[in-house]
Symmetry: C2
Subunit: 220 residues, 2 copies
């Protein structure tokens, strides 16, 4: 089986937000798809280890926030590479609440959803959810919806280990045939790759805000 | 609720193939996503009215064929806008069989899947499926994976009514402010839009191969 075939599947980049005991929580997800049009339902897949999973499983109301190509990429680092269990991910993030659920402003659109059914798998729950409200933000805010391919190619991000799309070999970059070896710095928190050497003074990871000392130098 | 928010979700364009009583069948789908990485599983959503649904529900073995930007767009018309119930969609299509399931050659990659669980919704079944084989084709064949956005923007296709992503207002194109009215011809079979007037002599729909008389003229 050639697992590279999985990389040919297309996804968006979403922040799933909810609340637990009045506290806003959220995480990044790619696995969101519409299932029926009338009533409008979507399926969202989430790893049971994610703290946000407990919010969906308990309150059952959540929002799918659609990130755009112009959304601040630090949202991905903030929501994708730390846990709401021990972090308030919303400090300094612009949002409003709809039915108690945070809706992010720096995005293309949102779907407010209520869980109506679920399917359990070995590691993830697929939540079937009715869309109870939805809205779009002006394209000037976040641009076109960000695809997972754009995130990899342009933003040069990776997948956290809880993601179904995680492939261990993603980090093993080898120099292309005919190219001389190059130097890069890789963020040990989120996998962001800085192409070049040295890392600029005071560099901060644009994805997850990790400081320069969290980067490791790679050659080849 | 602003249903335009649903258009901000990102998808690929896939042909789901299977077989019924030894006969190859298939249809277009957008709603495919990976759920777990080990074992590798994907969820595929399909309208119960689709003939291919009966193949997935009975044999349970099928392939997800990932179309690329350079795949022949007539594959979308052929597999998306006619039914395997009364059409042999595979005439003239290059494919090979894996475990009896057709795998299309004019694509980026394939996932051979076996249904392991299912969740019913009002109109669609979500098939949870284990990936039992997977492969990629050289990029020179079909290019980058086709996104649903590319299909709409570049190929100018629409959604069949069985698709969860179908929005009735898609066909209601209005002239933009400040633009003078324009003339277009719309395929009554698949919704393909030819911008211009008149329709060239002997025109055949590039998506579904419908002849010129299936097109209707629209002004404005």
């Amino acid at each position: 089986m050639d697992t590279k075939a999985f990389r040919a599947l297309s996804y968006g980049v979403y922040v799933i937000t909810s609340q637990v005991e009045g506290r806003p929580v959220g995480c990044v997800a790619n696995s969101v798809m519409q299932i029926t049009s009338s009533p409008a339902t979507v399926a969202v897949s989430m790893n049971r280890d994610n703290f946000t999973h407990s919010a969906l499983a308990s309150t059952g109301v959540f929002a799918v926030n659609v990130l755009g190509e112009q959304s601040n990429p630090s949202l991905i680092g903030r929501f994708g590479f730390s846990s709401s269990r021990d972090t308030d991910k919303f400090t300094g993030v612009s949002y409003e609440e709809k039915q108690g659920v945070p809706v992010l402003h720096d995005s293309c659109a949102f779907l407010l959803c209520r869980v109506i059914d679920r399917m359990e798998t070995s590691t993830h729950t697929v939540f079937l959810s009715e869309v109870i409200d939805a809205g779009v933000f002006p394209p000037a805010i976040a641009g076109d919806p960000m695809t997972y391919a754009y995130y990899h190619k342009v933003i040069k991000g990776t997948s956290p280990k809880n993601a179904p799309t995680y492939l261990p070999e993603e980090g093993e970059k080898k120099p292309e045939a005919g190219k001389t070896s190059s130097v890069r710095w890789v963020c040990s928190v989120c996998g962001y790759v800085y192409e070049g050497d040295p890392l600029p003074d005071g560099f901060v990871c644009p994805l997850c805000s990790a400081p320069a000392e969290k980067f490791t130098r790679q050659v080849g």
